[in-house]
Symmetry: C2
Subunit: 515 residues, 2 copies
């Protein structure tokens, strides 16, 4: 059994049984091994940003890592932006990156590059496997690293001769270290702060704290102490909807964030970091909490956040306090002009139970969260690292993880173009993804940002860099070209009809919502 097959068997044995791929010559032994090993599902992407974004979406929903298969430094480079997002979502991923045969590297062939150097800025763990005898153990170590809390990016570089030489057979994967628990004195300090000034306290949460058990415990604490609970601006996955404790997010715009947080006298951080602006702006602060606000760092992202919140609920005697649950309530369908709010109404009104929402709607999406809070229970996934081009790939991966659920990709037209190739993979795999493209024909967020940085009356050259209307992108044509049926909605009524039909129809589709 060669090194490649030893690695594939190690992956499957270690519970990594989906591999998103865009292989090249140096990965051909890995590809050939797939035919000899049962249990690995391989999903081809036509661009590596699709591959890494899909791996992110998959693991967010499956709660275990997928593998990626990437072609040397250039292929890894193409996948870098979505690995950055995955790193910021604490998503476990095992990257397998092909490399030249070890003895060939000295010749500096055209594709030779510093793969470890490219990998390091987005990886928690990087290793080049030196030989076929090492690859199984290295693969097992990569899986363990990926699974280490809070979820890590592990990049294993696989030289071609490590793949093709005789290997050892598969290696067993050691379980990752358990999540550490917060200390009792930290719980008692936080409880004391809550008892002293509940109304002046914000509990800021992210990560696992946004799963149902975490938000429920946070909701009990809020009901008991009068504190508020918010999530970070961007989060990997939120379990929310009717019958659950509803958690708002810190707003993205700096002025809104400052206003939302201005009255808090203390903030308890559970997985989250002290909130800061996504960007700095001249004359505005970087930190969003008010001066003098007391920051209580209860639990870091690596720790057991649900345990921390449940223990804190106990400590403030809220164990049996019912949280305020979101009532089932949907907005009505709008009619007439298709506005951002009309689109949000349609999504809130029609979102099916168990939906997985992949939100990269950028400016068009800011209203979506409140409009859906009373919809049937669903998951909400965001772009955590700010690198646009995740939405369509993330939806693709989430749909692989959750074949029985409906996935909605809510996507800006600007951001959607970065990784538009994801549509083809959705078609090939027959995935249940409804792609809604908010077509405002501009980088609308940048129009606002240009004003924010002090350029109030931009001229033609600046505006040309922010508009997508010359020529107009036709998303229905592009989707058809990749095998995904599409339609265009130019009124609220059209969107309502098309979205209802899309949700009722299996397989992928795309709606271009012209707003």
């Amino acid at each position: 059994m060669n090194g490649a097959e030893s690695l594939v068997r190690t992956l499957v044995g270690g519970g990594v049984d989906v591999c998103f791929t865009n292989p090249g010559t140096s990965e051909m032994h890995f590809v050939a091994a797939l035919d000899r090993v049962d249990g690995m599902r391989c999903v081809l992407g036509l661009f590596e940003g699709v591959v890494t974004g899909a791996a992110d979406g998959y693991a967010r929903m499956a709660d275990r890592p997928a593998a990626t298969l990437l072609h040397l430094g250039a292929g890894l480079g193409n996948g870098l932006a979505n690995l950055h997002n995955a790193r910021r979502a604490f998503t476990p991923i095992v990257n397998i990156v092909g490399e030249h045969a070890t003895y060939h590297l000295q010749h500096d062939a055209p594709l030779t590059s510093d793969i470890e150097g490219i990998a390091r800025p987005v990886s928690h763990w990087v290793r080049t496997s030196p030989s076929a005898e090492h690859i199984a153990a290295d693969g097992a170590a990569a899986i363990r690293a990926a699974r280490t809390s809070p979820g890590q990016i592990a990049t294993l570089i696989l030289p071609a001769d490590t793949a093709w030489n005789e290997g050892t057979g598969p290696a067993a994967v050691e379980p990752p270290p358990p999540r550490s628990k917060v200390a009792g004195h930290d719980i008692r300090d936080a409880a004391e702060a809550l008892r002293k000034d509940g109304a002046g306290t914000l509990i800021l949460i992210t990560g696992q704290a946004l799963r149902l058990a975490g938000t429920t415990a946070a909701g009990r604490i809020a009901a008991k102490t009068g504190c508020q609970v918010l999530a970070q601006t961007s989060n990997g996955r939120v379990e929310r909807g009717a019958g659950r404790f509803s958690v708002e997010r810190v707003p993205y715009p700096v002025d809104q964030a400052l206003a939302r947080l201005k009255d808090f006298r203390q903030v308890i951080l559970v997985g989250a970091k002290q909130p800061v602006g996504f960007f700095a702006y001249p004359g505005k602060p970087s930190v969003m909490t008010p001066p003098g606000c007391h920051i209580i760092r209860l639990a870091t992202i690596e720790q057991d956040l649900v345990h921390a919140l449940e223990w804190l609920a106990d400590e403030v005697a809220a164990k049996d306090t019912p949280p305020k649950l979101e009532p089932a309530a949907r907005p009505g369908l709008a009619t007439g002009k298709l506005t951002v709010d009309a689109a949000a109404n349609a999504i809130g009104a029609l979102l099916p139970e168990g939906a997985v929402v992949c939100d990269e709607a950028v400016t068009s999406g800011r209203g979506l969260f409140p409009f859906t809070k009373g919809a049937p229970p669903h998951d909400w996934l965001q772009v955590t690292g700010g690198a646009i081009g995740l939405g369509l790939p993330m939806a693709t991966g989430a749909a692989i993880a959750c074949p029985d659920r409906k996935v909605l990709a809510l996507e800006g037209d600007g951001s959607g173009m970065y990784t538009v190739q994801a549509l083809w993979t959705q078609a090939r795999e027959g995935l249940n993804v409804v792609n809604v493209i908010f077509a405002n024909r501009s980088y609308a967020i940048l129009r606002g940002e240009l004003a924010n940085v002090g350029a109030q009356n931009p001229g033609r050259k600046a505006l040309d860099m922010l508009t997508l209307d010359r020529p107009t992108l036709d998303w229905v044509d592009m989707a058809r070209g990749m095998g995904v049926p599409g339609s265009r909605a130019t009124t609220a009524d059209e969107l309502n009809d098309q979205l209802a039909r899309a949700i009722a129809t299996p397989g992928p589709c795309l709606i271009e919502a012209v707003i």
Copy 2:
């Protein structure tokens, strides 16, 4: 004048007057400055791989650097693969990469990443400009670095406060150091080798040696001494066609390369490196020259290669020896079934004088070079770093550099998908690009490579990773979606007609050649 404007004025003053952009918030001051500075042409790409690939194509044809404008580490990451290609083509590029304000970095906001770390593997020169007082001088240093022989990638990181604070106004750009000349004794040694065994000698050239003056000098030497002249497998730009000395390339497939080189007893390297396999294969050598072949390193890529060849021609008394010039000759148009050869016939028969051919046709393109050698004079640009996804962007940039010439992008369907967004930029800018997509509906090169590495009878799972036929990509739909008119050719006659019409029509178009 703020830092951003000081930088833009430095760029324009330093001859960098085209900027390929995909900006974000942190680049808004740079964008705003564009309105205040005359002379900078800005070209928007909807994905950063388009931006960097276009900058490569532009500089190959303009012989001076363009700038790119990229959004933090994630944007740079998206552009990395084509910067790798540009580095391997010795293309000068000035990357401007936005960064958070210096004081904001400590907060590790979502988009924060190690930009210098991401830049280094593809850059010869990397600098983060620490303040608005430094940015003009840093910009001037970046231009000088990019222009330093043989052409370098300079990456200048621009923190937002460096852009928005008060700057110094533009800085002057120092001229780069001159190309070094080869030493007289190296010329004399090479001449001696040629006199001793001309027939057993290969002169292997790349870089500037493939411009007209270089190939002409090489052709004189060949005519005088009986040596042969070859180019590397992949080269940034070759000036060729009827009435010029024709230079074949070392074949890509290892067995063909070994066969082509097996009889040479000495190789004189002029800019080129000793030829090695693009990849290693089990049981095959890495080095393509035969054992015992004497390697004479006459000039490295940084040196003045044309001067070296002209001096060598003098030294072997070939100064007035006419090189064997390629006769004007075009293949006839094929009829009937659309094969790779029929397509090559069409291109050879119809290629207009002064065409710029951007060749990323991969397996479909191997026959194109011989079929066009007697076509009217033209330039031939290749993917030099092996990272596919360069063809369409490179054609886009070449067309910006050469508005009066026709650009042909010869593109595989697999490779074209990586940066398909380039079509939109072609439409927006009204560029004279004919995009010919060779649609074999597979990663055909990998079918061969799978066999080469020893997997002779691949199973379904492996084959699924190499085929693009489920669903079939419709390139005409995709092009229309991005504003580029397209057509599909399924016979040789259709391709002949469509290509003739496309060449005669201004503006971009796309032909899907189903082979």
